[in-house]
Structure formats: C-alpha cells, structure tokens
Symmetry: none
Subunit: 216 residues, 4 copies
Amino acid sequence: MSVDLSNFPEPRVRDADRSQAVILLAARDEFAQHGLGGARVDRIAQRADVNKRLIYYYFNSKDDLFLAVLEQAYAHIRDAERALHLTDMAPAAAVRRLTEFTWEYYLEHPEFLTLLNSENLHRGGHLARSARVRDMNSPLIDTLAEILERGRREGSFRGGVDPVQLYVSIAGMAYFYLSNCHTLSAVFGRDLMTPKAQQERLSHICDVILSYVLRE
Amino acid sequence: MSVDLSNFPEPRVRDADRSQAVILLAARDEFAQHGLGGARVDRIAQRADVNKRLIYYYFNSKDDLFLAVLEQAYAHIRDAERALHLTDMAPAAAVRRLTEFTWEYYLEHPEFLTLLNSENLHRGGHLARSARVRDMNSPLIDTLAEILERGRREGSFRGGVDPVQLYVSIAGMAYFYLSNCHTLSAVFGRDLMTPKAQQERLSHICDVILSYVLRE
Amino acid sequence: MSVDLSNFPEPRVRDADRSQAVILLAARDEFAQHGLGGARVDRIAQRADVNKRLIYYYFNSKDDLFLAVLEQAYAHIRDAERALHLTDMAPAAAVRRLTEFTWEYYLEHPEFLTLLNSENLHRGGHLARSARVRDMNSPLIDTLAEILERGRREGSFRGGVDPVQLYVSIAGMAYFYLSNCHTLSAVFGRDLMTPKAQQERLSHICDVILSYVLRE
Amino acid sequence: MSVDLSNFPEPRVRDADRSQAVILLAARDEFAQHGLGGARVDRIAQRADVNKRLIYYYFNSKDDLFLAVLEQAYAHIRDAERALHLTDMAPAAAVRRLTEFTWEYYLEHPEFLTLLNSENLHRGGHLARSARVRDMNSPLIDTLAEILERGRREGSFRGGVDPVQLYVSIAGMAYFYLSNCHTLSAVFGRDLMTPKAQQERLSHICDVILSYVLRE
DNA sequence: TATGAATGAGCTTTCATTCAT
DNA sequence: CATGAATGAAAGCTCATTCAT
C-alpha cells in the first residue's frame, strides 16, 4: 500500500523536499486508484506515512494537491516525449515509433489515464488554473508536423494531415483500449490484457495509422 | 437541475413504474455529471423530485442504482445500434455509417462516456455483477464481421481485419476526443468543440478508418 | 427464519385469527432474538409472511405488539404452572418439582428470558399498561405458600419462609445461569450449556433450595 | 443528563485521556439506560459534551465503544472483588461477606446488570473479541474454592461444593431480583425496592446460601 | 381484510479541514 | 518542520409509520 521510496534519500527527519515528494507520489497512487472524488486524504497520509496535517501544510487543499499531481504527471510524460528524438528518424519509422511509445507509456503508466479521466469528469477545471501545464505545450505536435511534412516532401506520405488530429487518433486508439479494458472485457467476453492481446492491439494500431499516412 | 419528464405521464401519485423511471433518469444525469463517487443521493432525490427513501425502496443502494443506470445506458445504445441496418448497405458505406453513428451517439450522449469512465475507474466491478449486460452482447461485432467479409469477397476491402479491433478503434478515436476534450483543449490551446472542429474530427476519423479497410 | 405454522390451519385467505397468531409468533421470535430496540418490523413481516401494513392493522404499533407478545408469554407460562398440580404432592417433592419445572421451562423457552430482559430494560413500562398481566397473578405463590405451611406443620420444613422470596430465588438461580450463559462462559472459560453442565446446574439448585427449606 | 466529572481535572482543551474517559462514562450511562440497540451516539456525545466525531476518533464504532464500556465495567468489579480480602476471614464470615458484597455491588451499580443483559442479548459477541476480559478471569473463584476447602477441613462446611456453582447462585439470586424488579413488582403487585424489601432480600439470600454450605 | 407505495425523522458513519502547540 | 486533538457539515442508509386503494 505504501509508496516506493527507494529513489529517495533515507528518511532524515525534517526534510521538506522529501516530504513533499512522498506526499505527491502517495497522492498520485490514491487519485489514480479512486479518482478525485473517491480519494481520501487520510489514505494519502497513510500511504505517505506522514501526518495528515502536513499535506495541508504543503498543499493547501485536496484540489490543489490533485492539481500538483496532474502537473507532475504532465511533466513526466513531456520529459519522456522529449527523449524520443523522432527528428532523427525516417518519417514512417518516426510515426511508428511515436505510436509504439504512446501505447507503451499508457501501458506502463495507468495512473496517467485515470488522472486524465478524473480531470475530464471535472471539465478540466484544475488544469484551467494551471499556468504551468499551459506552458508545457506538447513538443510532439511540432515534431509530428515536421515529420509529416518531411514524409510528404519525400513522397511517401499523403498530404493534408493535421498533426493534432493524427496525434489524438494515435492516443485515442491506445487510451480507449487501456482505459476501458474492464468494460470492454465484460462486453466482449474476452480478456484484453493478456500479453498476446496487447501485442495484437499495438500491431493493429500501427497498421491503421500507417495505412492512413502512407501514400497509397 | 430537475429531470425532463415530458415523456412521462402527469405525476400521478402512486405510480411505481413512473417513480422508478424518474429516479433512473435523475441518477443517470447525476452520475454523468459527478461520477459515482461525487454523485449525491440527496441530489438525485431532488432532481427526481421524490423522497430520498424511495430511491432505496426501489434500488437497494447507491451502487445498485449505478448498475441500473449503467444497464439502461447499454440497453439504449444497443437499441440504437440495432436500428442501423448496416447489412443492407454496401461495405464501404456501411463502415462509414457505423463510424458516423458512433461519433454522433457519443456526441449526443455525453453521459454514456462519463458513465463508462466511472465504471472503469471501479475496474468494471458493477458490470461484472450484471447478467443483463453480459447477455446484451453487442450485435455490432457480428454485423461488422459480416461487412468486412463481404467487402473482402468483393475485392474492395483488405483481408485479416479483426472486427473487434476495428470497432474499438472507431470508438476510441471518437471517445477520446469527446471524453477528454477539456484536457485536450487546455493542452492544445484550441477549442475542440466548435461545430467546425467537430466536423473536421468526424471527417478525419472516417478517412483513417476507410484508408485502413479499403484495399490500396 | 420463518415461523412454524404446523399447528395452524392452511393459509386460507382472509383469516383474521390466523394472521394475528402468525404475526404474534413471528414477533415473539424477532423480539427474543434482537430485543425490543433491535427488532425490526420489516423482519417480523417477513418471518410471518404477511404485509407489513397488516401488523399495524392488528397491533397499533411496535410497542403494542411487544406488549401483546409479552402478555402471550406470561399466559403461556401461567398455563404450564397451573398444570403442575403441586398440591397433590408431598411438600419436599413439590418444592423439588417446582424447581425442576422452572429450570426446564426456562431452558425450553429461552425467548421468555429475553423478553423479560427487554421489558426490564424499559423499566416495565409495557407491563404497567397491561391489565391482563396484572390479573394473571401467578397462582404459584399461593400454592407455594400452602406447600411451605404444609411442610412446616408436618415438621419437615423450617418456618418463616416467604414464598415470594423463595420463588424469586429458585427462578433467579435458573434465570441467571441461562440468561447470562454467554458472558459466564466467556469469563469462566467453560461451556455451561453441555448436557452434563445443565444437569449439574439443576442438581445444584435443588440442593441449595432443599437444604434451605428442610429443617436441620 | 450529563456525566459527573468531579473526579476529572478541569475541562482543559486537548486532553486526550480526559476526553476518552469522559466519553466512556457517558457511553456507560447511555448503554445502561437504553441497551446497545437503543443507545444513541448523539446522546453520548451530548452527555460527554464532546463533538460526536471525537467518539469515532477514539473508538472506531458504536460496537467497539460498547466493548470498551464492557471491559471497563469488568475491570471495575474485578478491582472491587480484589479489595475484599476474604482469605483473612473465617469461612462462614467470608461467604456471608461475599454475598453481601455481591448484593451491594449490583445495587450500587445497576449499569453493570444492564450492560451484561445487553451483551447476553447479543450472545456475548463483543466479549468474545476481547482478550482483555478473558485474561481478567475472576479471582473470586479461586478464593471461594479456598474458603470452601478451609470450611470443610474445619468441619463447619459440607464437602463437594463447586465454587463456580455457588458463585453463580449467589450472583443469580441478587441479579434476578435487581435486574427484573420491574416485572416482578408488576407481577407480585408489591414494591421490591423499598429499603425494607431490599434488606429482607439480602437477609434471605444469606440464609439460603449459608444453610447450604454449613454442615447440618 | 389486505397491500404496495411513500415518507420524515433520525441513525451511524465519513470527510476535508482547522486548532493549538 | 511537524503533529495529535478536534470539528461542522453532510454522506449513505434505516426505521417505524402512514397513505391510498
């Protein structure tokens, strides 16, 4: 139940940064598991093994804490995106890499999906207050635009593709499958999370995306 | 705030069916707006203009009520799907029609998206208890399989397309855009819900799907 | 869970007497198991397999129903007492018979103990309203007085024994053991309800009572 | 209605021990007056003059609170029993003293009787969970065994008396009279709680017990 | 005689938050 | 920097009882 602290220095008493980080991690897990409404401040304190009062000391309220978690989650995925270096790759390979990355990131960070779901249930109210996230504009869109343009000039890609639309499609095909796998499993009566099923899904998504961007 | 009762007979007192239907509608709206955890039974009673106790009289608990709402939502979309009659259409037209239908249904029934999100946050626990939903298996998959096979025999469609994968992709591209439009709008800094943006999205999804299924 | 109706005529519809009797039995069991406060009118209706409204139709309220149950319980034990015919027996035999009877009645009618406990928790408030019970004065006291006097005249019994005190002592030694067997078992760490333990208890009570009334 | 706090220090704010003790006392009175089912947490809070939430802060639930009250009640009577020093007295005097003590303790602590009644109505379920009470085994039984043996060796007491049986008889004769005085008063039509009646009862119990243990 | 529908009051419990040190 | 004590508001749910037929 409690948070993995192996990356943190020993619990020296009175270490403000460490306390904040521990709380943030615990809160991320709690919000991811139960949503904003279902999350319990008590449980976050327990997970983080800190006094509940300390949470309010560092983060004014449950909502502010949720926003902090959200900002951290965005910062994390942005960092990962930046590390992709798609510009160095051939257009088709780059699109494939982006698709694979998106799928794998969602798979390895299910908390990201749940956090976004919670935020959308609340109509993006927290994000709207966050200058940080607005400035953290995804670098991927520009990169993707550049790749699409490169492919078009090469003659391998079709023209007129909106990078935002494409990005949303890649994300959507991965997101929906992973975020809704419980209801989908119930409805289709088959386990969507076996290794084989996961592999087939990624393969399908790549096929769809590539047959769309590739000329002919 | 209160539920639209125009389709219901006048509020005659002591009409069990009407009371249940009114509660169900009010609950659907409340759960859609606030999620399972954030929904308030008091507010449902207010919306439905019934005594709170009556909710427990007909639906044992908040969770059972949520399940009833979920079952109703699935029943509703299944009815709409059945009314499509895709079997009578040419393969490409049928796939386009299904894509349009999915987009439009999600657009007109935002509560369906939110309900599914809530249920998935709870790992499908309610649905798992519902025999009704399991039996209500989507007829679309069989229909889609038939269409894909028809297209392949005609020579217009590629072979080897899994209808479940395709259906999930169609749904996912629509779902993600509409369900996450608040965070996406914040991140991309553009309003995704203008009529023009909506039209462009649907057009894009159709392009992606059709360029995938069509040969060449 | 439901009441034994084997002594009742077939459930002819609309049989007022039968309905009342069934309710009374169901209520007795429910009150005995859960006490007045813990008893549930819903559960009584279920046990009796009648509509809850019917309970209010025949017995105005939960409290009135409790009183009716109490009156019935007293009537039942009085009947059993009357059937003892102690007057025909030798004094010592009569006292022993009364003691055995009391023990056995309590053992076979644990609901009687619980009902009395409930009524005493409520300071006898229901009984105070009941003319019936007041008139149903125990015939045992007079009988016991007669036996004690007979024994004294014979020379076998000591004199000056108050029949009420003696009766309360006989009842108390049986009642306390049976009514409090759960806490006593926990405290003494031994099962007080094995057949052997029961036999030993009755034997002990007889010894105590007889060594008190007998001269020498 | 509120609890006697004369033994507690002034209501300094933020005194955890005091708060718990006050709650415990208030709960004892409430449970004694109304039983477990009839007791109201709101009323306990009022009696104790603390925030209702505080009750749940210190005692997890109503049931746990009841158990705490029960444990305290047992601890209290065990303390009183230990203070008796029966071992220093002559056998007959010791038995008489124990009988008087039992009577007087029950008379002065009517809440003890009611608490036990409630616990037995619930089939000893709380006590069963309490390691504390099980370990608090009555020292009286050992003491009583020693007294009985001493009397037997002296020649004044009969042999073969089970100390548990004797203790239960002493307790039962007192308990039943005091616990059931309301129904007994109604049935016998005489007030059992006048000073004279009380004195007569104690005298009777002593007679019964002593004529049992004494030889001849 | 009998019943399904409905309710107001109040129950135990929960929760985010603040106080005082 | 950190914390145990305390709280007001409200949550989900229950219960005896009444309504209307």
